[in-house]
């Protein structure tokens, strides 16, 4: 990532701590991180590591007990800019059924822009545009309960994109999906990367990390590691202690690397590994 000016929009956490009411420990502790425009950041951690809390802190649904969360220099705790923050940060939750409000697809996508008071004709343009991005063109009048899991999740993402946010926060977007659904959502994330949308996605699937520019691992509310995906996948002890498992393919890759096999920088797909083997 090239150098960015100080006044470029970005998401920042400065020493953020948050404790749920009645909880014995803070969910998030003195957390500091930064998401730059157009960057994809993966937040990993076992269940209970604080990663979902992080997602809700980004757009101000939860406010830090101490520290500061800011989006494009707007403090999330500032009530006067609350709705600006929320329109710039689209949040997509784990269970798509918990987010779909409309009785048909296009009505649900329109929900966000309608709340922002966008004009009818412009809403139409946005709906068609985001449905094309998520690959649901033609589904405008479909009722949501007739969609597959992957389609529902892409609909939820479309609903967030329709507000034209600078950032997208995805909380375990593939958790409820089968492999076909997962692939379609991960492919969508790749397409969004090309669009310049900054994405923060939370997951416990280590394999998803290959779609990110940077990754951080949370353990009991603190940052245990931060770096590129390939650096992360090499850190087996840190991962194990944080309750994460290195996927089998990456274990093959690291065993081959450790033996001295010249492999391009990873993480690699099956084809790339075999390609390197045959040369």
């Amino acid at each position: 990532m090239g150098g960015r000016g100080f006044d470029e929009p970005m998401i920042r956490f400065d020493e953020v701590t948050y404790t749920y009411a009645g909880a014995p420990r803070p969910a998030v502790r003195e957390l500091t991180l930064q998401l730059n425009p157009g960057e994809i950041l993966a937040v990993l951690g076992a269940n209970g590591s604080g990663k979902s809390t992080l997602a809700c802190l980004v757009n101000g649904l939860l406010l830090p007990a101490s520290g500061r969360v800011s989006v494009a220099d707007m403090d999330t705790a500032d009530e006067s800019t609350m709705w600006d923050v929320r329109s710039q940060v689209g949040l997509v939750l784990q269970d798509p059924d918990d987010q779909i409000v409309g009785t048909v697809v296009e009505e649900d996508v329109a929900f966000g822009p309608e709340n922002l008071g966008v004009e009818s004709a412009e809403i139409r343009v946005r709906v068609d545009e985001v449905l094309a991005i998520v690959g649901l063109t033609g589904f405008e009048r479909r009722e949501p309960h007739l969609l597959s899991g992957g389609q529902k999740q892409r609909l939820a993402i479309a609903g967030a994109l329709a507000m034209h946010p600078d950032y997208l926060v995805l909380d375990e977007p593939t958790a409820m999906l089968d492999s076909a659904g997962r692939e379609s959502v991960l492919a969508l994330i790749e397409r969004l990367r090309a669009q310049g949308v900054g994405i923060l996605f939370v997951t416990h699937h280590l394999a998803d990390v290959i779609h990110a520019d940077r990754a951080i691992v949370l353990d009991e509310g603190r940052v245990a590691f931060t770096g590129t995906p390939i650096e992360l996948l090499g850190q087996e002890e840190v991962l194990a202690s944080c309750g994460l498992e290195v996927p089998p393919l990456q274990r093959v890759e690291s065993t081959l690397r450790a033996a001295g096999l010249p492999l391009p920088t990873g993480p690699l797909a099956v084809e790339s590994i075999v390609e390197a083997l045959c040369n």
Partner: protein
């Protein structure tokens, strides 16, 4: 939608066959205007066929009447006055069902809630949260199929654990559904919380200032039927 309300009220205000005939004409026109196949509209009557027969016979049949009968079969007779009354009530039911069938066949849930919101708008002056109510209705409608699916899944899962829903008297049967209703409601409440988070994240802040993707528009035909309906309402109330 307002038309349907007025339609229904009119039907109950009508006293004689003449008024009924007028309403029938209006219904016929509305059906033509909607371009819904008559077959589909009439299908709605199938559900109430039993009630219709029952109404007719309940009024028409007399045991040992004093007045002149049309037909006699031992003590059971068909009384012409009763038959007329029965026919009247039956006709009212028919027209009522036709009207509401037409409504559900031509209107999407969104249009229904839209119309409800429009009708309720005057209430906003009295601080009634009409926009929010309309939103609640939309969301409720949206979740009906999803909730039905969940309920079915839970019933099947509990059946697999040996639960029986067909045994015992009414109290026992009601109790048998506790293992289904409790998780269903717990999930619904949890879902409501998550939905609220999702809606707030998408900047929902109540009904004010919201625009709409699809604005509903009254066409000429809509106006004609509206005017026709109001006219009949007036005629019935004032003249008949």
């Amino acid at each position: 939608m307002g038309i349907v309300f007025a339609y229904a009220i009119t039907l109950f205000m009508v006293d004689g066959f003449a008024g009924m005939a007028l309403v029938a004409v209006l219904a016929g026109l509305a059906i033509r205007a909607s371009r819904v196949p008559v077959r589909l509209v009439l299908r709605g009557l199938r559900a109430v066929l039993f009630i219709l027969m029952f109404t007719l016979l309940a009024h028409a049949i007399r045991i040992n009447p004093a007045t002149v009968a049309l037909v006699r079969l031992g003590p059971i007779a068909i009384d012409p006055d009763g038959l007329r009354t029965g026919a009247f009530f039956a006709a009212r039911i028919v027209l009522l069902v036709l009207g509401t069938s037409l409504l559900t066949l031509t209107t999407t849930p969104v249009q229904l809630t839209d119309a409800l919101e429009r009708i309720m708008r005057p209430l906003a002056r009295f601080r009634v949260p009409t926009g929010e109510i309309a939103m609640m209705l939309t969301v409720a409608l949206r979740f009906i199929p999803t909730t039905a699916e969940e309920a079915e899944k839970i019933v099947v899962a509990q059946t697999a654990r040996g639960a029986r829903f067909d045994r015992g008297g009414p109290v026992a049967r009601a109790r048998a559904y506790v293992p289904v209703l409790v998780p269903l409601f717990v999930n619904l409440f949890r879902r409501a919380d998550e939905l609220a988070i999702a809606m707030e994240s998408r900047c929902y802040r109540g009904g004010l200032g919201r625009t709409r993707l699809n604005q509903s528009v009254m066409t000429g035909v809509d106006w004609a039927i509206l005017v026709g309906g109001v006219t009949i309402f007036v005629i019935n109330g004032v003249l008949l």
